[in-house]
């Protein structure tokens, strides 16, 4: 059993909050949910909508086949009624005098007016009707409303009860769902990133606002005291990254977050972290580019950019979590890796992953805090000591050791050098760490293979969600390979899988097929079939299934 509900209205109608609330209700009722928010870069007016996909089994994406539309304005009906299934319903703000195909009229505005509420509360009226239609006990919705609206819950709950009774008098139930009371947690991708980082010892988060990474900053600001976290919003992204490096040099696990444009501003200091081997974790949440692009919509076009970010050559780690659960675990892994190997680590996500909501059960035991290599206190401390694996044990200012970090090429003590032999040796020392990193990654989940058919779809990042859902809808059996670690590239996993495959297609959200080109570079295999999307919207699994049918 699965169904999709769209709620739409103008910016300022509280669509995102209502969508989240509906998601939480179905989560509480024991279902898997996936909530997608679609909004424009404006504060009032325009058209916003949320799609809530509800299912008995895990879902990773949303699609455009709707069972129900909750329309807070007429624009919502106009824009989305073509996506409604023949038996679908439209809850709209009106009376029985108005004839709308498949429409269930509910006097949203007049009920709100009756209790002297404000227009944003209309969604609570609609939710009352929703509860009746699906036979969800009002107590369950009341509990969620109390959690979400806190002090402002009272009027919303009143409206919920009023509209439930109204629906009882006027409509027939459409679907009696079985309530199983779930114990999962509803999280956005950005919240999962934040919690994962905290779990691996994050002490400081620094960011300058930029969609779609901003909600990490919001989350941390809201919870800084209970998480015991320092949270800073400096003057620009250049300050963000330099501040992070100063903090990490002094011994604090630090993370920064931005989107492509902000990361572009950070390039010089990103290279500095490579040179002075200061641990750094950057969350880069992609949005449609180039330039300002389409700020509130999605893309996977920064893969090549982050792979080559920063001038010069230095080792780095690039992780692209593909769903919200993975974002939690992989961010904690990122923090540990940055400190163990003293390299910059990038978490590459996108608007779709950052801002979508799903319910997951977090297993905290799966995360461990891995300690960095610490040097003994000595007067002759060498910050860049040559070692067998290239990793020079860390020391922080405040002790007996004198810690000299440098952006210049340097000797083992961190003193500037221009001697060719020393320069060569230090560059080799830094790249020696790649070997140690690769050995470590061999023990980690760097790729995930779903199924074992000889027909194979390769994908990365949030597109995996639509790919898995699409393959699930198809009759043909197709395997899916999701690549999570993109640098160092897990050739040890990818090459054998590609060798066994017969037909291969690459699915990704960009124009040039960046993953396909990376696979060619790293493995020598040329994947000709590419399904690419660059209209700033995520793949729709139904459409994707059609495209895949043509390939396989």
């Amino acid at each position: 059993m699965e169904f999709s509900i769209l709620i739409g209205g103008e910016a300022g109608d509280g669509i995102r909050k209502a969508g989240n609330l509906i998601g939480r209700i179905f989560n509480q009722a024991g279902f898997y949910v996936f909530v997608h928010d679609d909004y424009s870069s404006l504060i009032r007016g325009g058209h916003n909508f949320s799609v809530i996909r509800v299912s008995e089994k895990k879902v990773f994406s949303y699609h455009n086949k709707l069972d129900m539309i909750i329309a807070l304005d007429s624009e919502t009906i106009k824009k989305h009624q073509n996506k409604l299934i023949p038996k679908g319903l439209i809850i709209f703000d009106g009376t029985f005098k108005e004839k709308i195909k498949n429409g269930l009229p509910v006097p949203l505005s007049s009920m709100v007016n009756k209790i002297k509420g404000i227009p944003i509360m209309r969604s609570s009226v609609a939710i009352g009707v929703l509860c009746y239609l699906f036979k969800i006990p009002t107590e369950l919705a009341v509990q969620i409303m109390n959690e979400v609206y806190e002090k402002k819950a009272e009027l919303n709950i009143k409206l919920l009860n009023m509209s439930y009774e109204y629906a009882e008098r006027n409509f027939n139930r459409i679907n009696k769902i079985k309530i199983k009371y779930g114990n999962k947690r509803l999280l956005t991708g950005n919240e999962a990133i934040a919690l994962g980082a905290k779990k691996a010892g994050l002490k400081l988060y620094i960011a300058y606002p930029m969609t779609p990474a901003t909600s990490i900053l919001h989350f941390f600001m809201d919870h800084k005291n209970d998480l015991g976290l320092r949270v800073v919003q400096p003057e620009n992204e250049i300050a963000v990254i330099n501040m992070a490096l100063g903090a990490a040099y002094a011994g604090t696990r630090t993370m920064i977050g931005t989107s492509g444009g902000g990361f572009a501003l950070m390039q010089e200091a990103f290279s500095l972290s490579g040179m002075n081997e200061t641990p750094l974790v950057v969350v880069e949440s992609q949005r449609a580019a180039p330039s300002t692009g389409v700020p509130t919509y999605t893309a996977q076009a920064d893969l090549r950019f982050v792979l080559h970010a920063g001038h010069g050559e230095f080792p780095r780690i690039l992780i692209a979590p593909s769903d919200i659960e993975e974002a939690y675990y992989k961010t904690s892994e990122a923090l540990n890796l940055a400190w163990k190997f003293q390299v910059p680590v990038i978490i590459l996500v996108d608007k779709t992953l950052s801002e979508s909501v799903t319910n997951i059960k977090l297993i905290n035991d799966r995360i461990t805090y891995e300690k960095e290599k610490i040097a003994e206190q000595t007067e002759n401390y060498k910050r860049y000591k040559f070692t067998d694996d290239g990793i020079s044990p860390l020391s922080f200012p405040g002790g007996k050791s004198i810690v000299k970090a440098s952006s210049y090429e340097h000797d083992e003590f961190g003193i500037t050098t221009e001697e060719p032999e020393e320069i060569k040796r230090m560059q080799e020392k830094r790249f020696l760490k790649t070997k140690a990193i690769t050995e470590d990654l061999k023990k980690k989940k760097t790729v995930e293979l779903y199924g074992n058919n000889k027909d194979l779809v390769i994908t990365w990042g949030s597109s995996k969600g639509a790919v898995l859902d699409a393959v699930d809808m198809m009759e043909k059996d197709i395997a899916v390979l999701n690549i999570i670690y993109l640098e160092p590239f897990p050739t040890w996993k990818v090459i054998p899988i590609i060798k066994k495959a017969k037909r291969i297609a690459c699915v990704e959200g960009n124009f040039t097929g960046q993953l396909a080109s990376l696979i060619r570079e790293k493995t020598g295999f040329n994947i000709k079939e590419k399904i690419l999307k660059y209209d700033s919207r995520p793949f729709d699994p139904i459409e994707l299934a059609n495209s895949l049918e043509k390939v396989f």
Partner: protein, 264 residues
């Protein structure tokens, strides 16, 4: 008392007679004296610098250091202070570094009263890149990138820092090491953002030694209230036959790091 050794094995590559020697000497004396008087623990001192002749100072002083990139010293120091508030973080920057490439950081560090100290080697010229104009180059001054004389009017670092909210603003002269040392001491004793702009001759591209020597006078030896913001602003505008050096402004305000760490 044991002699505190701050020397490194590194050979100094500044031009003979460079104003940087005065700054280096005053800084080392400052550290030695503050450590001797138990006001400072050497292990807690971290110095940072941008890129330019001034930056080499990091290789010449045996304390913790972070060689930053051009213009980015203030956020680097703020990060350290957020990480470990017991550190004493001191930044060096050139006039190009602080007032061109990194001017936004300097203004914002002053605005938020971050507990960092900034020492600006202001020689009015880009020296390490062999002589180009900077934001403090006098109008009409000829450099490789202003062959007919600079067409821009210079900024006044002191008024800029005062209106940005700096809680400690001072000016020194690299030719007066004893005076400079006292400024450094007071800057380090100050809780909050401190900036010391240093009038520094560049022996090769802009030798102002004689010019300054004839004009500078110690502001703090006159009737002057360094707690008065308006007096500071007015004195900061004095530039001509007489040039004031000393502490222009010194006020107590809550620091950025105190606010961030509150309740944690």
């Amino acid at each position: 008392m044991n002699e505190i050794d701050l020397d490194t094995h590194v050979q100094n590559t500044w031009c003979p007679g460079c104003g940087n020697f005065g700054i280096l000497s005053a800084f080392k004396s400052t550290l030695k004296e503050l450590v001797s008087s138990d006001e400072l623990k050497l292990k807690n001192v971290v110095i940072s610098a941008g890129i330019g002749c001034h930056g080499k100072i990091l290789d010449y002083v045996k304390v913790n250091s972070f060689y930053s990139i051009h213009g980015r010293v203030p956020p680097t120091l703020t990060g350290m202070k957020l990480s470990n508030p017991s550190l004493e973080v001191i930044g060096f920057a050139g006039d190009g570094d602080a007032y061109a490439e990194g001017i936004s950081h300097l203004i914002h560090a002053a605005k938020r009263n971050s507990d960092i100290k900034m020492i600006i080697h202001n020689n009015q010229v880009f020296a390490l890149t062999t002589g180009q104009f900077t934001p403090t180059t006098p109008e009409g001054f000829k450099t490789k990138t202003s062959p007919k004389g600079s067409i821009e009017r210079p900024i006044n670092p002191l008024t800029l820092m005062l209106v940005s909210g700096a809680t400690f603003v001072a000016r020194g002269f690299s030719g007066n090491v004893e005076h400079l040392k006292n400024l450094f001491k007071e800057a380090i004793r100050h809780k909050g953002f401190a900036v010391v702009d240093i009038l520094q001759p560049c022996i090769t591209f802009n030798n102002t030694f004689q010019f300054y020597k004839e004009r500078v006078y110690d502001l703090n030896k006159t009737e002057y209230d360094k707690k008065d913001f308006n007096s500071a602003l007015s004195k900061a505008n004095e530039w001509g036959d007489k040039i004031p050096i000393g502490i222009f402004y010194n006020a107590e305000k809550k620091t950025f790091e105190e606010s961030i760490l509150e309740g944690l």
